[in-house]
Symmetry: C2
Subunit: 212 residues, 2 copies
């Protein structure tokens, strides 16, 4: 709890910085391979004002793969390789921010380490926390990973293009999400087909207006 | 490290117990929703001698869902709900073993908490550690989650039935697995179609012979 108090100090510092720069900051949490990087890539590609207005801080145990993917669509991406830490903490984000020119950005996405457990406990200073769940993972995941889903402001159902192929039970998934995160805004989308992407981007633009 | 030394004491105790009972013990690690429970269900259903010879210890943050699924195919399943712990530890497994009649079992599967990071560091006393990777998660996951894959005795590619639908690059995935786990035995299977299940079960039966 002492460590969490320390984390929260850095989180508030980050939050203040984002607000001072009129920057909408998101924290993306999900299992490995749910499509976080793919969605951030797509968001940057269609962002009014251009991909270079989208900053990304990506956490992974190893590799620069995600940051490289994001740079190749024109986003400003900084990779944090944690070695063994299974989640990002606010002090890591604070340090990363010092390497970025925040005034040149509209949107900051923090892609957390792929993990539906540990990242949930750490406020990074984000304005909105999005938990992603792909249609391939199983409808009961919101019940089985409560801390993540209970902490969500937004829940994003990803890979909707293969929902039918895997026999996805949408009603059951949405019920479980509503049960764990009754006040969360839910999006259903596919990076592959583009379904739901406009709705998602419009939401981000509206959020950005309201923080400014 | 002191905590890990304590874990390893319990792990060795578990390992000794398994060997004394001629019981093949497996530790299943993967992301949430990669198909651990589904594969254990299927393994139990086709196990020579019957599902009731298969014991399972399942770890989850919350719910009894996985243990219930396993019981409904006739396996002997014990659920550990960890609350917040993001991985199973050897002492939890030791405690669970005290509730099971090990002499009545041939196979013990420990289904770890869905998490490709933290569980890797904890020896539970298993004879074989299997890391599961579904074709939907992305071919670079073995590189991005090194501790899990480097610790694997077995790597199982799951959900092969939808490999084509998601454009799975099998060569790239296998290369990455070989890079991180050169001595691991690799299986490719689908619970949905049954592809590769016989090969997997034959491997288990052979492993069980060799520990007896
Ligand atoms: N069918 C389909 N596949 C998708 C979609 N979005 C992403 N994928 C695939 O899902 C896999 C994982 O995508 P990533 O973007 O790497 O997922 P991630 O959540 O960033 O993974 P980590 O950062 O390792 O936790 C890749 O093979 C993607 O091509 C989608 O909308 N539809
Ligand atoms: N298409 C297809 N889907 C599968 C297969 N195996 C499992 N699934 C589906 O994948 C989803 C997750 O399966 P689970 O068995 O719950 O996965 P898990 O790894 O035990 O999940 P956690 O215990 O929560 O980490 C479910 O919707 C399953 O029906 C398969 O071989 N093919
Ligand atoms: Mg990623
Ligand atoms: Mg399971
Ligand atoms: Zn952690
Ligand atoms: Zn952990």
């Amino acid at each position: 709890t002492r460590l969490l108090a320390k984390n929260d100090q850095f989180a508030q510092q980050n939050r203040d910085r984002f607000q001072a720069c009129g920057l909408l900051a998101l924290n993306f949490l999900s299992s490995p391979g749910s499509g976080k990087t793919a969605l951030i890539e797509q968001t940057a590609k269609v962002w009014g004002g251009g991909a270079e207005r989208v900053g990304v801080i990506v956490g992974d145990l190893a590799t620069e793969n995600d940051a490289q993917r994001l740079r190749s669509v024109g986003a400003i991406a900084l990779q944090i390789t944690t070695g063994s830490a299974c989640h990002l903490e606010a002090d890591m984000v604070a340090h990363a921010l010092s390497h970025l020119d925040l005034d040149s950005l509209d949107l900051m996405v923090i892609e957390n380490v792929g993990n539906l457990v540990c990242p949930a406990a750490y406020d990074l200073g984000e304005a909105r926390r999005a938990v992603l769940l792909s249609v391939t993972e199983g409808e009961d995941k919101p019940l089985k990973y409560p801390t993540a889903f209970q902490s969500a402001d937004v829940v994003i159902l990803t890979k909707m293009d293969i929902a039918q192929a895997v026999g996805f039970d949408r009603t059951s998934a949405i019920d479980n999400i509503r049960h764990m995160a009754p006040r969360a805004t839910v999006f259903e989308l596919s990076v592959r087909t583009g379904e739901g992407i406009d709705t998602w981007v419009q939401y981000l633009q509206a959020q950005r207006q309201s923080i400014n």
